[in-house]
Symmetry: C2
Subunit: 346 residues, 2 copies
DNA sequence: CTGAAAGCGCTAACAG
DNA sequence: CTGTTAGCGCTTTCAG
């Protein structure tokens, strides 16, 4: 009949030590005899003692929690990122608080940050930042932006790369290497940093080869928006290659193109972005670039935890995440290029 | 130069009231004059006051946080559920703590629960429960199981339906209605409750029509596992209809079938499970059943919050989530059935 | 409707 | 290596 949850005083009594010694053991502090440590651990186990995080936070001023401002979509990209962030946070010995912000709400992320700060977190990661003006907000903990320049004034703002620029560039170059004269780009919503990065990577690849930069196509990450873009594009036979900023948009795009009678990859090549493994099993299997979600989350959290625990140290060097192009069946040389290899070509 | 964060005493001083009155205003308690309320709010705003949740939790014994034990996969189903849980939790005025448990770890969910309890939560939701023995664990807060019978001994264990049984049944009946003599089932990992529910719904539909129950096919939710099952199945021409327990498995299955020269839906019909909208844009567009993630999360959180805030009340009635079949292009009548309608048939 | 006093369970600082 | 003394910032009594 447990009357109520055991407290550190109960553990101390049973172990025959002071409360402070219990505290030391529980926090892995030095200067505790092995004997005392052993007795405390045994007593805690016996009582089923569970430390009260609220009391610890109040007394120490540190919560051992991290907050993440995420995106509230079930898309493969955002979901993957969240999963890997959670794992990295847990591995670092922190608890995780999550708040989603619906896309398109410019005030959203500021509000989410404020809520997280009030709930009590030692640091925050903004998972998929959108573009917005400087938000006036007193933020006294380090904030990590995954894949975007900082737009808040915080004690310490950090940024970890998600390699979007390099990946977009690799995707575009793959198409150029195949012989396409230029590559169209189906972009995401303009106010996302993820969109900007990909556009810039695409532009850089085009510029490096002296290729003409065609007008941008616009989507919203959904397959439906890719489909719409595809319908608009299908009649333009000069288009031979498209780099879509997301796998799902690529899938919608291909569907529209084929409905309109254009073959993929024979007439038009399409490359996606993200690396969702399911799209290896559609026709044609989607060529894409794999986002380094795990590496980005791990590196980012490492930076954040460092900034929290050793605020005066130099920040450690962040490893650049790997760039991985996954070539499958949705890309091929352009028709003109192929004709040259056939017998009936002039 | 803010020396340090303002406290409720600072607000009280500025508003010319006691700390208790500030507390009353912040907690929406009655018996505060409108005048006092207004002054407190103004003072809080002016100072940029942020309530300290740790102190509140320590003093009140309530954290206003809910914990969720989730699954750590980026699949559409689990990700959707998490997104909707987060929203429901936020709408209910609670903060959310998340811990993922890698699939297949039987101790995982017990450990996650213990960690959540230590971090401080007023209730827990176990999002995608797996089958396991009774876990001995002192859990003194209500626990909600989404789509599974309770397997922990908690003060109060709740269950909210995700309608998996009904959806599986609807998927199977759709195939039977089309004229298929029986329906094969590609199931998920056996230790998931989600797998069990779907199997039972499928069996119920078969039994109700007196259809023969073929042996189960096994997958692990991934498209790759669906592909493997499809290769094994392709040579058996007696198979005309398959209900897959997940959209991605269905996609892999269809891919293997087509590679082996079997047409979908002409030779074999396939229905998926989940309702990921992207699969409306593949060939053939996938017939599937839509899981009521939003409704299940909303109802479940409502139950959980009720159990926390009014522990002595009767639990409110849970609405049954809707059953939605999405018929697209991957299902059709079986070959035998179709022949009967053609001119050259006898 | 309002306030004063007394902790919630832990860690910080300091002294042994 | 160990213990003592004070709080952390809020909410809870219970009196006005």
């Amino acid at each position: 009949m447990a009357s109520s949850a055991p407290r550190s005083a109960d553990v101390a009594r049973l172990a025959g030590v002071s409360r402070k010694t219990v505290s030391r053991v529980l926090n892995d502090e030095p200067y505790v005899s092995d004997e005392a440590r052993r007795r405390v651990l045994a007593a805690a186990g016996e009582l089923g003692y569970r430390l009260n995080h609220a009391a610890r936070a109040l007394a120490s001023g540190r919560t051992r929690s991290l907050g993440v401002v995420a995106l509230g979509t079930a898309g493969y990209g955002t979901a993957s990122l969240l999963v890997h962030i959670e794992q990295a946070v847990r591995d670092a010995g922190y608890a995780l608080r999550v708040i989603n912000t619906p896309d398109g709400d410019p005030e959203g992320i500021a509000g989410a940050l404020a809520a997280l700060l009030e709930q009590g977190v030692d640091g925050v990661v903004v998972s998929e930042p959108v573009v917005q003006g400087e938000v006036p907000l007193r933020v006294d903990v380090p904030v990590l932006f995954l894949g975007a320049p900082p737009s808040f004034t915080a004690t310490r703002t950090l940024t970890a790369s998600v390699a979007a620029h390099e990946l977009a560039r690799a995707a575009t170059e793959h198409l150029l290497d195949l012989g396409h004269h230029t590559v169209h780009h189906l972009a995401g919503p303009r106010h996302w940093y993820a969109t900007k990065d990909r556009i810039q990577g695409w532009q850089a690849a085009l510029a490096a080869r002296g290729a003409h930069e065609p007008p941008l196509l616009n989507g919203d990450w959904s397959a439906a928006s890719g489909y719409a873009a595809g319908r608009a594009l299908a009649s333009d036979t000069s288009v031979t290659a498209v780099f879509a900023a997301g796998d799902e948009m690529a899938i919608g795009l291909i569907h529209a193109l084929r409905e309109a009678g254009r073959r993929v990859p024979e007439d038009i090549s399409v490359v996606g972005f993200d690396g969702n493994p399911v799209f290896a099993y559609v026709s044609p299997p989607l060529t894409t670039v794999r986002q380094p979600f795990a590496a980005a989350a791990r590196e980012g959290i490492r930076l954040l935890v460092h900034a929290i625990e050793k605020p005066d140290d130099e920040l450690p060097q962040a490893d650049e995440p790997p760039v991985e192009l996954v070539v499958r069946g949705s890309t091929a040389p352009p028709p003109s290029h192929r004709d040259r290899l056939l017998p009936h070509s002039r």
